[in-house]
Symmetry: C2
């Protein structure tokens, strides 16, 4: 008898009808002969509603109290789903994150899971229950509720699947799986049947919004097969798994050079001009950005002429104002002559483990972009990804051309 963890997001449990539909889907999974654990998020807009309530009493809620407040959303979902399943004649029991043995650290509003002790989950499974667990929440060492931040419910599902040694972890979402690129941009984008953890991690980091990197990392670490699929369709989605498993199932996969083309339109480029070429300069600069919580994506330092050089970085566009403020504070100290920015840039990437054994992918990528008369600004590469920043307005053209070049439409 297989053990399956199913995760449903907030839009899947937004109202009574949707909750009943999820209940039906969960029961089918059990009828197929599986033990089933379900992880759910807060219903629909509930989290937003709770945040609005908090804003009504204070403009600076403490993180601990925010967690206390927001954790109620998932608790509502689990109770209602357990009721709906029981109503349809199957045994179900709801467990909060703490009851399910999900321990987390004390970083309120963005805690990390420290360990899972799923004794109660296992016992309830043994009793024949479908076990419904609140996503997004855990218990810290002093028995306070902490929430896991963005993508927290996915993380609960994957980590719980790891702790239970589940056969698979199914993430139900509003898309049918992971695509070779965004179907809204390239109409002949194809659903990918299987993709490796590493490729998925690079995709998440380069603009694909299917899953957050942290859940994929846990999946990789504990070898959990993650099946991303649609809430609204019975079709198989995409399985995120190890390269070994993919190779075992589909030996020909090694012929695939590039698995997906991704893009991120929310980039901004910052250049610090004529920085003193001294040890510690870069450290000083990035420390200042880290202090205000800015994630730096690409970094390029130009070859020094005489004794000064330029440092260019890309960041999330939303952080631009904060970053400019931080950099202007150290401009004088770094002896920089100017700080310039461009918030009209995008990043286009090709991702694929096949690159490791197929040289020349970068050359092909640059060639395609050149043929399309697209100017490449910054370039960064790692083992299985090549990224270029280009003008925002040229994203669609670039993605379509790259998708075709690497045969992803076939």
């Amino acid at each position: 008898m297989a053990l399956v963890v199913m995760k449903f997001g907030g839009s899947s449990v937004a109202d009574a009808e949707k909750i009943k539909r999820v209940a039906g889907r969960v029961i089918s999974k059990q009828k197929e002969g599986n033990k089933v654990v379900v992880v759910v998020s807060a219903p629909g807009d509930m989290t937003d509603d709770l945040i609005t309530m908090a804003e009504g009493v204070t403009d600076a809620p403490q993180d601990r109290e925010m967690d206390m407040l927001l954790a109620t959303g998932e608790q509502v979902s689990i109770a209602l789903l357990a009721m709906a399943i029981s109503h349809m004649g199957k045994k179900a029991i709801s467990l909060t994150g703490p009851q399910a043995g999900i321990h987390a650290d004390s970083t309120h509003t963005k805690a990390r899971i420290t360990k899972i002790v799923p004794t109660k989950v296992k016992n309830e499974l043994k009793r024949g229950n479908i076990v419904i667990v609140a996503g997004f929440q855990g218990l810290n060492p002093i028995a306070d509720i902490t929430t896991l931040g963005r993508g927290g419910s996915d993380l609960t599902a994957v980590a719980l699947a790891a702790a239970l040694k589940a056969d698979t972890c199914e993430i139900y979402t509003d898309v049918e799986g992971v695509y070779t690129t965004d179907p809204r941009v390239v109409s002949d984008a194809r659903k990918i049947e299987m993709i490796s953890y590493d490729e998925m991690l690079e995709m998440a980091g380069s603009g694909a919004q299917v899953m957050q990197a942290r859940s994929i990392e846990v999946g990789k670490k504990y070898s959990v097969d993650i099946h991303v699929r649609s809430t609204f369709s019975p079709k198989e989605g995409t399985i995120i798994t190890s390269e070994e498993k993919i190779h075992a199932r589909r030996p020909k996969m090694e012929d695939v050079v590039v698995s997906a083309v991704t893009f991120d339109r929310n980039q901004a480029k910052l250049s610090i001009i004529d920085v003193a070429d001294k040890p510690g300069t870069a450290a000083r600069l990035f420390k200042e950005l880290a202090k205000v919580g800015i994630n730096v994506d690409m970094i390029i330092q130009s070859a020094p002429q005489d004794k000064a050089n330029d440092i260019s970085i890309t960041i999330n566009k939303a952080d631009l104002k904060k970053a400019l403020h931080a950099l202007n504070k150290v401009k004088h100290e770094l002896k920089a002559s100017d700080i310039i920015y461009d918030d009209n840039v995008a990043k286009v990437s090709v991702v694929g483990v096949g690159m490791r054994s197929h040289p020349g992918v970068a050359a092909r990528m640059f060639g395609v972009l050149s043929d399309e008369s697209i100017n490449i600004d910054m370039i960064s590469t790692s083992e299985i990804i090549i990224s270029c920043t280009i003008k925002n307005s040229e994203v669609n053209k670039a993605v379509a051309a790259l998708h075709k070049e690497f045969g992803l439409n076939k």
Copy 2:
């Protein structure tokens, strides 16, 4: 430094403005030099909204899941109130019932508190926090959330005050205290300054709706002074305490014969006619009513003529249909000739510990009712209460006359 437990009901925390007002009141109490623990109910209509959501998925929700669902209401309140207090510059922390160490039995939706281990509450008080505890909820022996049923938040407050050996437990409500009778019926009803636990228990059992008997019982058992007062006014309300304390403070109180006049319009009378006068008959009858959960209030058995007699009882009007059904099932077995009912009856009572030392109260009561041409149907008496059933339409007249007769308007 005194320790005060303050309890606010759902209407006091129904929206952001009201929550801020409660926060202000709590902070004032701390500024007066008290350590403060606050117990709150779910905001306004939230419990009803949650019940409606449950009804959307099933017409027979399991009690355990209902508790899981409903407990979120108080959790929302405590988080918001903690935020509001912090916003006003004072340290506050919220605790769920389980976190506050409130242990209960497993009777979901109407659990009883089994013990309170308020270690966390005490620690947070030591740290200078105003501690905000979710009312209405506890943790059962298998670490499930159970709710305490009607009046549950009052019970949490009184029991917590007992466990913490608090100096007083303040119950904030929408009335200004306990009155000599309902001011809506008798305009010169007066607020009672102090009343004994026993009198308050009799009042709760005979129609006064200020507090549920269970909270008063716990208050009496652990000698907790309960101060019932208004959320909307700074005036002192009514202190429910021991007879000894009342006597110590107000030696002349012994002259008070009757403390209050109460009434209950929701009564129904049932008579089982010509029941066989055999041992076990009454037992059989009441067992049948108990089986369907009906609380019997007054019981009168008429003196037997030959070998049969009549048994009359009063019950809550809402239970009438259920009671008739139950009694008709045993009618034949009991050889009863008929079962008749009257759902147009009310109960009027006079309550007062002074009755113990002042004989003749019953005679005065019957005399007053007779002077008003009010017919008395059933009578029941115990040490400190005398109750009569009368016609529903004569309640106002009876209450006004009794209130005057016993000098309660002075």
